[in-house]
Subunit: 158 residues, 2 copies
């Protein structure tokens, strides 16, 4: 991973370069932490979906949306350091090596910023308690997740 | 797990009873999700610690503290349903069966509320950028984590 793509990942996930120097962790730690972050996002997305499709509970949607917002702004992009393109956290990483290629910097920044934007908007919309608007924003947020997964994540191993 | 302790867990982690009916997941899902939440808290605690002990970066501490706050208020107590006292998520659960005993309700509520309180305070203090105050509050938050771990978590298997 070249400096340019580290910087792009850094910007995309809102982590400062000073911060990069701290708590990077061993490769296995980084992979386990980012898998944990993504699982927690997945749990929260599932909760919002269940509320849209079932009985809508405003407080639960707010809990889930605030969780996603905090994680999208947590600087978890810093957990994709060089040397973590392969390796095992909870399980083998599903990251594609393309994420670490310097040529991916622009795309990485684009998908990262889209995810941040939609996650922040999701929290705002959840706070209104407007189930119809939540449904629309949930779709937008899901697309932003997919935008990164399609580019940089291998199909999940079951 | 008797109704009384479900209610206590519910109150302690800020999840409503209506919400409990949605997205509970299979036992293995609940265990994997709660392990993911706790790992993410652990990552965030490590980041705050590194900032206290190393070069202090206000933005990184805010990211980490906001993450912990969101997770403490995420309703993850709902992921400790009856039947999840044993089982494997990412790994075998470390929960003690005592958590599910009706006699633990008062203690569970006490430790859960203490964690929420300290996590909310951590986010407030982080926002000030006062490193000395962050250090003090980090200690308070750590004690509230330990309060629950000592009661309800088995020693971690390496």
């Amino acid at each position: 991973m070249k400096l340019k793509s580290i910087v792009a990942a850094t910007l995309a996930f809102g982590i400062t370069s000073t911060a990069l120097a701290q708590v990077i962790g061993k490769a296995e730690d980084q992979i386990r932490w980012r898998q944990s972050v993504m699982q927690t996002v997945g749990w929260s997305m599932g909760r919002i979906k269940a509320n849209i499709e079932g009985t809508y509970n405003k407080d639960q949607v707010i809990q889930a949306a605030n969780t996603i917002q905090a994680l999208a702004n947590s600087g978890s992009g810093g957990l994709f350091q060089p040397g973590t393109d392969t390796g095992k956290g909870w399980r083998e990483t599903n990251v594609k090596p393309e994420l670490f290629a310097s040529g991916s910097a622009a795309k990485l920044k684009e998908v990262g910023m889209a995810y941040n934007k939609e996650a922040n908007e999701m929290a705002k919309v959840a706070a209104t308690g407007d189930a119809a608007a939540v449904k629309v924003q949930f779709g937008n947020l899901g697309k932003s997740c997919k935008g990164c997964h399609d580019e940089f994540r291998k199909e999940e191993k079951k």
